[in-house]
Symmetry: C2
């Protein structure tokens, strides 16, 4: 019998940020696909769309009008999942029926007035403006006594539930710390108390040595496919310097974040020569006024596509009921992303 | 200010089986949908399809031929995610790079030779045959020294990654206990040790009193929308008698499971008058030879549709990065399902 190795043999890997496992089935990459295929993404959009509720000057749901903005524009979500005026309270029906009131503020950030753009097609300086808005919003919402966590994210592409292709992201801020950041707080704290350094700082150091999961990098940030990636081309951007949140970033580091956001999403678009769908978001320390030296800022990218612009990975039966499962290995995914051109395919194909 | 109540105000609820929270935004049910819509399900299929690799007599991937079966038919998955001959082993690169070999056996169960059927359209006696196959397979796989968990599940519908509409389910059995059942073991054990009764037994008792989340029931099983449901029309089938696994069911209870599987899926199909997609699966005690008095057999149903046959709920940005979120309340969902006809719409519409 040959020796066990993670390149050829089914195995599980531990995610030290969540304490969950993922099942990796390297041999299954050859499985033919006869199931659902997604619509090919229609990628020709005008710079201004009169029917888009995010374009400058247009009317939104509920009758409000967007100003004639250039660059970024922030407003409160017209269909906020969380509201500011929710009364405090909870249920008292025993341990099996626990509910607690949750309040918060939900915002939408238009990344550009240009309806036709996406992050990988924007200039780094324009993306830097988005980073600055994140910082401003994080600061404002984080200072609010009622807000304990600020979740900044982007749903990109119709298959990721994005209802409008205009380049935009969201912020949902809440009166308690959500499930995933709460989990990452526990694991990072335990690691920090044991080792005196951040979990992701040490992880990044090891990955920079090993190299095989790196995708792109600059002076301040590294994008890699985590050892425990669940989605086929899942990545994570990690700051080289351990910082708890966006507000600790220097001016140059903000530029670095904008730069790597572009570098990574250009590779994504080039992978299948399509506007690559994903959900992405920043994980940072809670904003409850406490100090979180264990927290190391990072950004997750969860893209669903698996083998082409129209075939995605389904996280269904076994994944929902048992353990998330992936076919290609994280190392193969990283290599494919790393080998792609740094120039966006639309520019090369002209 | 009005008092907090779970019918009108955003809140979070605790899932005592996983210890995770779900965010409920009751006021958001009015949100219009301008995003992706699914293809309407084409629901006219012949009883035999010469191109279907699950139909009797046909050739499968890899050149094997199905026998000329009637009723159920079980075979080893041609693209198994888990294999029997995987060498034992793991990595030894420190706490941040943990991998462990995983072996197992993956099977496919054809529910019927009739390509045109689905569970809600099958006779209860034919579904009972499926339950018997589950029991046989659970017994056989569970007795295998290398198998510590037997995950029985069904992916139904193309939007749930099901690559073939022929009525079928799967079993993935593994050499270690997967993430979700492992979590449910911890919570059920803690509850049992504290209370001397099963978590789901006590939960079911309370729900039978409250009534508002019940959907359908019979002498041996109850289907309800759990208090902590994440998916819009998520349900759970719970056995009235606490049993650790399928093998403890009496003959009558097996009939009861077949009956409620049909009752529930008929309501599902009737909800939007479409073949209702879902991932469903049984959760039972591990098969590592230990006794699990805390384990209470149940079956989860995770259906993605939200407001029509073509508009689903997307579990994306906030859900992936922070906390799962739902719009309609579990109580509203239960009421809608409960009020539907017990007769399949295709029979009524004839
Ligand atoms: O085994 P199938 O039906 O080909 O595949 C389907 O179910 C599996 C188990 O839930 C998933 O891992 C796949 O993503 C899904 O497409
Ligand atoms: O807010 P949107 O873009 O309308 O909605 C989208 O993102 C939300 C946050 O991830 C999800 O809850 C919705 O299911 C999804 O469609």
């Amino acid at each position: 019998m040959t020796n066990f190795n993670t390149k050829d043999h089914p195995h599980k890997r531990l995610n030290p940020l969540t304490s969950d496992w993922v099942l990796v089935s390297p041999h299954r990459a050859k499985r033919p696909w006869q199931g659902q295929v997604e619509k090919a993404i229609v990628d020709e959009r005008p710079a201004y769309d009169p029917s888009c509720y995010l374009c400058a000057g247009n009317e939104r749901a509920g009758g409000k009008h967007n100003p004639d903005y250039k660059g970024t524009y922030v407003f409160t979500n017209d269909f906020s999942a969380l509201l500011t005026d929710t009364p405090d309270g909870g249920t008292d029906e025993g341990s099996l029926f626990q509910a607690k009131s949750e309040s918060g503020i939900c915002k939408v950030i238009c990344f550009s007035e240009d309806h036709s753009l996406t992050v990988p097609e924007m200039d780094v300086s324009a993306i830097r403006n988005v980073v600055d808005v994140w910082c401003e919003q994080f600061n404002e919402l984080g200072r609010n006594d009622q807000i304990e966590y600020v979740q900044i994210f982007e749903n990109k592409g119709a298959i990721m539930g994005c209802s409008n292709p205009h380049p935009h992201g969201q912020i949902w801020s809440s009166s308690s710390v959500p499930v995933e950041p709460a989990r990452e707080t526990v694991t990072q704290k335990a690691y920090f108390e044991k080792n005196g350094s951040t979990l992701l700082g040490d992880y990044l150091k090891a990955e920079l040595d090993k190299e095989e999961r790196l995708v792109v990098s600059n002076e301040h940030f590294v994008a890699l496919v985590p050892y425990w990636a669940v989605w086929p081309f899942e990545t994570m951007i990690i700051s080289r310097r351990p910082v708890q949140n966006l507000l600790e970033l220097t001016d140059e580091e903000r530029d670095g974040l904008a730069d790597i956001y572009k570098q990574l999403t250009v590779r994504y678009d080039n992978l299948f020569e399509t506007s690559f769908a994903y959900s992405a978001g920043l994980h940072q320390a809670p904003t409850d006024g406490k100090d979180y030296p264990e927290w190391h800022l990072h950004m997750h990218f969860y893209p669903p596509l698996l083998r082409s612009a129209t075939v995605k990975k389904f996280m269904v039966g076994y994944e929902m009921l048992a353990t998330p499962q992936r076919d290609i290995t994280p190392e193969q995914a990283a290599q494919r992303l790393r080998d792609l051109s740094p120039v966006h395919y639309k520019k090369t194909n002209q």
